[in-house]
C-alpha cells in the first residue's frame, strides 16, 4: 500500500494535573518522535500543537492521558477523551494511580488551605478558574481506561513500545517487532499476533522490581530501621536488608530497578506488583515477617523508627491502591457533558 494512501491512526495527547514529564517523555524520544508523524496523525495535543477542545475529532484511535484528576476541567477532559477515543491509555503514575498529586489526599483537611483561589463566579471580565474536585483521583476512577503505562515518568523504552504497539497494530511488522522486543512477554505475544492485549493491561513487567534489581540479596532480616539520610551502602547490598524501606518487593517491575540501581530506595511509581491486593499492606507484611527479633520491646523499638508509612508506602498510589482510601473505578456508562451538549 502506498504510504500516502494509508489511513493514519489519530492520536490525542493530554496532561491534566501533574507535571509535563510524561508528555516530555513522548517528545524526548529523540529520533523516534520524528517518526511519529509517519504512522500517526496527532490530531489533538494542546501542549505541542495548541489544539483547542473544539477541534477534538470524534474518532480518535488512541488517546494518551497523563496527569491526575484534580479539577472539574480534568474530569471534563477525561470524559471527553473517553467518549471520543477508541483506546484510552493512562500514561504515568498520576493518571494510572493518582501519583504525587494524590499525596494531597492525606493532608489534614482541618489545616488551613494554602493560597487557594476563591472560585468566584466570573465578574468584571474575569474568567472563572476550574473548580477543585474534593480529592485527587486517578483516570480510571473517572472513566474506564483501556491500558496503563506506569512510571514517574514512564521509562522511554516502555513508553515508545506502548505507543508503537497500540498505534501501529496490524500495520507495520518492523515497528511491532521493535515494540514486542521491549514489552513483557504476554503483551508482546498479543501484539505480535495482531490482537490487542486484554483491557486493563499494564504495560510493565510481570514480577516485582526486586526481580530486576541488580543489588545483592543475602538474608532477609530487618534488624534496624534506617532513614535514607543515614549511612548505608549506596551500591551493593539490598536496601531493604540494610533497614531502609524500599518498596521493590511490592512494586511492579518495568523500570529495571532504576532508582535502586543508583542507590535510592524504590517508592513504587509503577504501582503494586501483580497478585498484590494492597502495596502498603504487602510492605508491612514483608518487613514485619523478617523482623530480626522475637522480643516485644525490640519490635516496638523497630516499629517506632518508621515515619509516615502511608505517605511512603502509597507515595504514588493513594487514590487508587490504598484499600482504605481508594474510590471505586469508573463504570462504562459515565458520559461527558461537553459531548452531550
Amino acid at each position: 500500500m502506498n504510504r500516502g494512501d494509508r489511513q493514519k491512526k489519530k492520536l490525542a495527547v493530554y496532561t491534566a494535573t501533574g507535571c509535563r514529564a510524561c508528555e516530555q517523555g513522548i517528545l524526548d524520544l529523540n529520533y523516534e518522535v520524528n517518526e511519529l508523524g509517519r504512522f500517526a496523525d496527532p490530531v489533538f495535543w494542546p501542549y505541542v500543537l495548541g489544539t483547542p477542545w473544539e477541534a477534538l475529532p470524534g474518532d480518535v484511535d488512541v488517546a494518551l492521558f497523563a496527569g491526575a484528576i484534580r479539577t472539574a476541567a480534568d474530569r471534563e477532559a477525561a470524559l471527553s477523551l473517553r467518549e471520543k477515543s477508541q483506546l484510552l491509555v493512562a500514561v504515568g503514575a498520576c493518571a494510572a494511580f493518582g501519583g504525587l498529586p494524590g499525596l494531597a489526599n492525606l493532608a489534614d483537611s482541618a489545616a488551613p488551605a494554602e493560597a487557594a483561589p476563591t472560585m468566584d463566579a466570573p465578574d468584571d471580565g474575569k474568567p472563572a478558574v476550574p473548580a477543585l474536585e474534593p480529592e485527587a483521583m486517578c483516570l480510571s476512577q473517572v472513566v474506564p481506561v483501556d491500558y496503563f503505562v506506569p512510571g514517574c515518568p514512564p521509562t522511554q523504552n516502555l513508553l515508545w513500545a506502548a505507543v508503537l504497539a497500540l498505534v501501529c497494530r496490524g500495520e507495520s511488522p518492523s515497528r511491532l517487532s521493535y515494540a514486542a522486543a521491549r514489552l513483557p512477554e504476554p503483551i508482546a505475544e498479543a501484539i505480535a499476533s495482531g490482537v490487542l492485549p486484554p483491557r486493563g493491561t499494564i504495560f510493565a513487567g510481570e514480577k516485582a522490581v526486586c526481580g530486576s534489581c541488580s543489588r545483592v540479596k543475602e538474608e532477609k532480616k530487618f534488624g534496624t530501621c534506617k532513614r535514607p539520610y543515614e549511612a548505608y551502602q549506596e551500591t551493593g547490598r539490598c536496601l531493604l536488608e540494610q533497614g531502609l524501606v524500599c518498596q521493590g518487593v511490592a512494586t511492579q517491575e518495568g523500570c529495571g530497578g532504576l532508582c535502586t540501581g543508583v542507590g535510592v530506595p524504590c517508592r513504587g511509581c509503577f504501582g503494586k506488583a501483580p497478585a498484590i491486593f494492597d502495596p502498603g499492606a504487602k510492605m508491612v507484611a514483608a518487613i514485619s515477617s523478617t523482623f530480626d527479633s522475637a522480643k516485644a520491646e525490640e519490635i516496638a523499638g523497630l516499629v517506632d523508627g518508621f515515619v509516615d508509612l502511608a505517605g511512603t508506602l502509597y507515595r504514588y498510589s493513594v487514590p487508587a491502591q490504598c484499600s482504605l482510601l481508594a474510590a471505586p473505578a469508573a463504570t462504562p456508562d459515565q458520559g461527558c457533558d461537553r459531548c452531550r451538549g
Binding site: T15, T17, G18, C19, R20, Q24, G25, L27, D28, N30, Y31, V33, N34, L36, G37, D41, P42, P46, Y47, V48, L49, G50, P52, R70, T71, A73, P101, L103, A104, L106, A107, D108, E114, A115, A116, P117, T118, M119, G125, K126, P127, V129, P130, P153, R227, P228, Y229, A231, E234, T235, L258, C259, G261, V262, G263, V264, V307, D308, G311, T312
Partner: protein, 434 residues
C-alpha cells in the same frame, strides 16, 4: 463586550489559557494557570529527606534545590565531587530546557509531526526540518547526561541530604565528556543560525521579537554568595539580601481567577494584575540573570552576550528577541560549564555523601533553575517530619510578567488588525522567550 479564550496555549508548563476581553476600549488579557500546585498538601507530614523526590514534580531543578535545603537543615557540607555532580546536573537541565525552547520555536511554523514539510523548510544545510532533527538529537544527549548524573532526567533521584548517591563509572565519565563537547559544538552552530536568520532577519519570530515586557524589576542569585540581588527596571541594584530572607521580601498575592498565586515585592505590595507592569512586579529567568550587565565567566557565552549588546543595546533588555538571545547565551554557558565539569577528577572523590548525625529543624535554599530563581524553605519537627514548606517556583514568580507579555502581544496584534489565530500564535511565541 466580546470575549475570546485561547485554551490551551502551546508550550506552557503548567498548562495555561488566556482570556481576551474587548469592551470598546483596549483589550484586557488574563493569563490563567489552570492546574493547582498543592505543594504544602503533598509535603507536610512526609519525612524531610523525601522532599527532593516529591518536589521534583515542580521541575527537575527543584530536586537539586531541595537537596541543598536539606544540607542546611542537617548542617552538613557535601563533598566537592557531590557539589560538582549536582552542578553538572543543573547545567545539563539548563541545556535541555533552553534547547527544547528552540525546538518549539523552530516547530512553530509547521507541526513537528507533519510528514511533508514545505520544500523551503527542507532545503539547504540550515533548512528548518534538518535543524529540528539536530535540535532533538542534542536535547536527547543532554537528557542522557542528566539521566547519568541524576538517575533520571525528569524526576531525578540521586541528590540527597549531604551529597549524591551515585558513583559514576568509567564509561559514564567517557560518555559525559563526549556529550559535553557535542553540546558545546552544537550550541555554537545553532548560535550562528539564530543570529543570522532569526535574531537579525526576524525569520519565524517576525515582529513578535519587538514585543517588550519592561521595564520590570528582576531577581537573580548573586554569583558568588548565597544572596539574592534585586534590580530595578533600569538594571540598577536596589538591594542584596540573604536568600533566607526571600519570603520577607517577596509576598504572594492570590487572585480569584488563578490557581497559581502572583509573586510581588513585599515593599511595594500588590497593585492587582493590570495591563502594565506595576511597581511590585518582578521577574526571574535567563534575562533577569543577564540584566545586571555583568560579564560572564565562560568565553563563548561572554562573546555572545557582547553580540547581544552590540545588536540590541546595553542591558537591561526586556524585549522578546532579547529573551531568546538570553536563552542562547545560557545554552553556550551551560555547555561550556559541562565541558569544564565533566572531567574524571571533578566528579569523583573519596566520598560522595556527608552523613548527617541527626535531623535538623529548618532548612532553605535558592538556586538558579533553567526557568529562573527558585527558593524552598522547610521546617521539620524533632523526628524530621515536615511541618511547613514554602516554595517560590518560577510559575509563581513570573505569573504577573506572563500576564503583561500576553497583554502586549494581544495589543500589538490587534493594532495590526490580525486575526485571533495569529494573535494566539504571537502570544505563544512571545511567552516562550521568558
Amino acid at each position: 463586550m466580546s470575549r475570546v479564550t485561547f485554551d490551551s496555549l502551546r508550550w506552557r508548563d503548567p498548562p495555561a489559557r488566556a482570556t481576551v476581553t474587548v469592551d470598546g476600549g483596549p483589550p484586557r488579557v488574563r493569563l490563567q494557570m489552570t492546574t493547582p500546585r498543592e505543594v504544602a498538601a503533598m509535603c507536610v507530614g512526609r519525612p524531610v529527606e523525601e522532599l527532593p523526590r516529591i518536589l521534583s514534580i515542580l521541575s527537575p531543578a527543584h530536586h537539586l534545590c531541595a537537596a541543598k535545603a536539606l544540607d542546611r537543615l542537617f548542617g552538613i557540607d557535601p563533598p566537592p565531587a557531590a557539589k560538582n555532580t549536582r552542578e553538572a546536573l543543573r547545567l545539563a537541565l539548563v541545556f535541555r530546557h533552553h534547547l527544547r525552547k528552540f525546538h518549539f520555536l523552530a516547530s512553530s511554523v509547521e507541526s513537528p509531526f507533519a510528514e511533508f514539510w514545505p520544500e523551503g523548510a527542507r532545503r539547504g544545510p540550515h533548512g528548518l526540518r534538518p535543524l529540528l532533527e539536530d535540535v532533538m538529537r542534542h536535547v536527547s544527549l543532554a537528557q542522557e547526561a542528566a539521566a547519568i548524573l541524576g538517575g533520571r532526567a525528569d524526576h531525578p533521584v540521586t541528590a540527597v541530604a549531604g551529597g549524591v548517591t551515585r558513583a559514576l563509572k568509567q564509561e559514564h565519565h567517557v560518555r559525559l565528556a563526549e556529550i559535553a563537547v557535542a553540546c558545546r559544538t552544537f550550541a555554537e552552530r545553532l548560535g550562528a543560525y539564530l543570529r543570522d536568520r532569526i535574531f537579525s532577519l526576524g525569520e519565524i519570530l517576525g515582529d513578535v521579537r519587538e514585543i517588550d515586557a519592561g521595564p520590570v524589576s528582576s531577581l537573580a542569585l548573586a554569583p558568588d554568595a548565597d544572596s539574592v540581588v534585586l534590580r530595578d527596571g533600569r538594571g540598577a541594584e536596589v538591594e542584596r539580601f540573604a536568600s533566607a530572607a526571600l519570603f520577607d521580601k517577596v509576598g504572594l498575592a492570590q487572585e480569584s481567577w488563578s490557581h497559581v498565586p502572583f509573586a510581588v515585592l513585599e515593599a511595594k505590595g500588590s497593585q492587582g494584575q493590570g495591563a502594565a507592569p506595576a511597581e511590585g512586579l518582578f521577574f526571574v529567568g535567563p534575562l533577569a540573570r543577564l540584566n545586571g550587565g555583568e560579564p560572564l565567566a565562560t568565553p563563548l557565552a561572554e562573546s555572545e552576550r557582547k553580540r547581544l549588546v552590540e545588536a540590541l543595546g546595553p542591558f537591561p533588555r526586556f524585549e522578546v528577541v532579547a529573551g531568546y538571545w538570553a536563552l542562547l547565551i545560557e545554552l553556550l554557558s551551560a555547555a561550556e560549564g559541562l565541558v569544564a565539569l565533566c572531567e574524571v577528577e571533578k566528579l569523583t572523590g573519596p566520598a560522595l555523601r556527608t552523613i548527617p548525625k541527626a535531623p535538623g529543624r529548618e532548612g532553605h535554599a535558592a538556586i538558579e533553575s533553567p526557568q529562573g530563581l527558585i527558593y524552598q524553605h522547610f521546617r521539620a519537627d524533632e523526628r524530621g517530619v515536615v511541618e511547613e514548606v514554602r516554595v517560590l517556583d518560577t510559575a509563581t514568580a513570573n505569573n504577573a510578567l506572563f500576564g503583561i507579555v500576553a497583554q502586549r502581544a494581544v495589543e500589538t496584534s490587534l493594532a495590526r488588525e490580525q486575526g485571533w489565530d495569529e494573535t494566539k500564535k504571537r502570544m505563544e511565541l512571545a511567552l516562550l522567550a521568558y
